[in-house]
């Protein structure tokens, strides 16, 4: 919907965020990390019916978007969420939602004014 927007805002790095989440398998991985906390690729692959290579590809994509980070623990690589980036995705829809709220208030003023 039309709304006032300023140009050239410094958030160009949000694009990969939406790409990374626009895939059911990746969303599932994010959900698993939400529920289960930091975990290894072995655990993340369990029960998914996907190969470890496929999961790795998704993890790299999510990492590239800044949604995940990983660190070595012994011989294993442990993956965990970067909560701050997930909050950004949610705020994106909240902003459009607020624009609707504003528009609805203008609509209310129009239809509720005495004739």
């Amino acid at each position: 919907m039309p709304s006032p927007r300023t140009a050239n805002a410094p958030f160009a790095d949000s694009a990969p965020l939406f790409a990374a989440l626009g895939d059911a398998s990746r969303l599932r991985i994010v959900a698993r990390l939400c529920e289960g906390g930091p975990q290894s690729i072995v655990r993340l692959t369990e029960g998914t019916g996907m190969s470890r290579q496929a999961i790795t590809k998704h993890l790299r994509a999510l990492e590239g978007a800044g949604l995940l980070r990983s660190g070595r623990e012994g011989r294993e690589r442990i993956w965990q969420l970067q909560a701050r980036r997930l909050t950004e995705v949610r705020r994106h829809l909240e902003q459009i939602s607020t624009q609707w709220d504003d528009a609805i208030e203008r609509l209310r003023r129009l239809v509720e004014q005495p004739i």
Partner: protein, 164 residues
Amino acid sequence: MNTDRIEKTVMLHASRERVWRAISSADEFGLWFGVAFKGSFAENTRMTGTIVPTTVDADVARMQEPHAGMPFEFVVDRIEPMDRISFRWHPFAMEPGVDYSHEPMTHIVFELEDSNGGTRLTITESGFDRIPIERRAKAFAANEGGWEHQSQLVGKYLALHAGA
């Protein structure tokens, strides 16, 4: 987390006829939405409006001023008198000189119901997940600055109408 749709329900102290007019008459829709249309809404019709500062609120009008005159393209989808009207548009089509016509649109449905002597309006905008990621990111970014200001506007509005 549902990233695909936004749903709003609001109780309006106005008759169903009055609310229907406000959402189905191109002129009235433009008044609160901030777009001037040429012609009237008809099913399956592509229309081009022009963004105009709203006349309802001076502050919002000032914020919209930089976008005044920009085209707003959309499609009137279905019209079911007194019950439902739906549109399709490009939700973040705000950059001058960019052709959005090949991009997917979101689907916007307005539904009316009688409720306690007034009218309940439900607005659903869906299809955000199909919008190109660059557009979503840009819109997200561009809104960052307006966020606080919008919150202030709402607060101001509520304060103004607290005694009403």
